[in-house]
Amino acid sequence: MANDFTPILILVGLAAIICGAMVTLSWVLGPKKVTPYKSSPYECGVTPSGSARERFPIKFYLVAMLFILFDIEVVFLWSWLTVFVDPKMGSAAADLNFQVFSFVAIMVYMLLWIIGDWYVLKIDAINWDEEAALDAAKLGTVLEPLAEGDAA
């Protein structure tokens, strides 16, 4: 009974129905009077300039990739967390043996984690400081200063 998936399916289904109903009801119930001004994107009352489907800072993409890496590392820990205190290996000696072995293994794992985190912070992947982000030396190329004629 406890491991039966029925309750969670009912809960997820009910939640989905409620969410769908909320969104659909307002769409059905409200009046519809479309005017050009209402249906333009809101840009503080100024005439909208172009689409928003443009380039955005690469930093956000970088953070998302780092999240996936680190989150998987956290998820790998979960299975060990539940067995470490009480491994139930059969005998006390076997328990201790497993605990010492797995503890050392996890500490090596965490050391790799720390090195990874240190590297990420070192290359300023999380640094939102404008000056650091645009530092030409960090980008690997030294930008040529603009010549007088190029400014125009």
Binding site: P7, C44, V85, M110
Partner: protein
Amino acid sequence: MKDIGQGIEWLSVNQPMTLAAIRVLLMVLPILVIVPGLIWYERRLLSWMQDRVGPNRTGTITLKNGKKIRTFGLLQPIADGVKLFFKEDITPATVDRVLYFISPAIALFPAFAVAGTLPWGPGYGTYGHLTPVWGSEIGVLYMLAISSLGVYGVVLSGYASNNKYSLMGGLRGAAQLISYELAMAMSLASIILVSGSLKLTEVVKAQEGQLWGVVPGIQNWFIFTPFGFLSAVIFLICMVAETNRAPFDLPEAENEIIAGYHTEFSSMKFAVFFMGEYAMMFIFGGIFGVVFLGGYNMLPIQWAELAANAPGYSFLHFMRDLNYWMAPLTFLGKCAAGMTFYIWLRATLPRLRYDQLMALGWKFLLPAAVANFIVSASWIMAQKLWGWQGAVGASIGAVLIAIGLYSAIRKAMNKGTTAMEKRSVELSEGTETIPSIRAVELV
């Protein structure tokens, strides 16, 4: 009371499906009912903190004899909700229609689904059949997974709106939510390590033992233990950031990006984002209560253990039974305390700058949570090997190593001042010329 208990017993044997439906309704209906109340509570408490009155008129009925029935404005959010249902649902012409339609629903969904493994009462007796909705072995994992679904609502609504402010808000929201998700999962790691189970009822049970394993009569709530306290602080900061609340409300920072990811939404679609946010805040208060504050236990006192040694039906037995039967109210009280904390924070703290936000998440909370995890694992290992004297020595060593590593990282990170600091130093020393915008003003 006894009949109800027997009825539930009968249902659990003969009609498990009906009982499952009852469990789900007992979880979902209170959330639906309580959200307008939460909005009212926030508005009233915030006004009180800001020396205002807040909504206090709606719902006052004047009878024929001049008597008034007051509800202190409690019906205000309901009136707002009814109004929002009948408002025009403006869909801008440039949006991605499918995503625009479903993204508010995605934002609301985790608020109802996240509490699926959260126990609001004891896991035995009558309440044992009613809670949690899903007595799963992976309760904490489920909770983290569902709560991180909220990021889809934010980033999809930002993208679908085809508005520059929305896109900016959505991107900010995505980066913020995933960054704090990490520290949150890592802070829970040391709790799971000690309680030895991902099941939330087991986490509560682990907190009913003796304080630090030695003090009799007092429950070992994780917030009283050193590692648990650090985890609690990290979790508390992360749960505020996860719900996009002040001081971490950058995805919807009004004075920078209008309303962020929900700029283009109107009528109930707009309100759905807020429903999700408020329900999520309330449930996060409950999660904090379950993981760190002993769940449904009213006070950190082991009534059951004390009563076992007492003769007859004494005060201790009465308190044990009271603690059992008041469990849902205690749980709701802990949720409400979490909500009050959120409102208090909103009234107190100014918003963070974006670089400060990312720095706090990645350079402080995440390393602190990892250090906490390593130290608590080392403590358990050392205690197993050398007893508690060895554990004290080993953990002091571990803490010193952690502090050394952390300060080394900090030193490496903060080599050289940030651009903003440099600028303010230069301005105060007068080495930088006056910025051009100032010059324009002066002209």
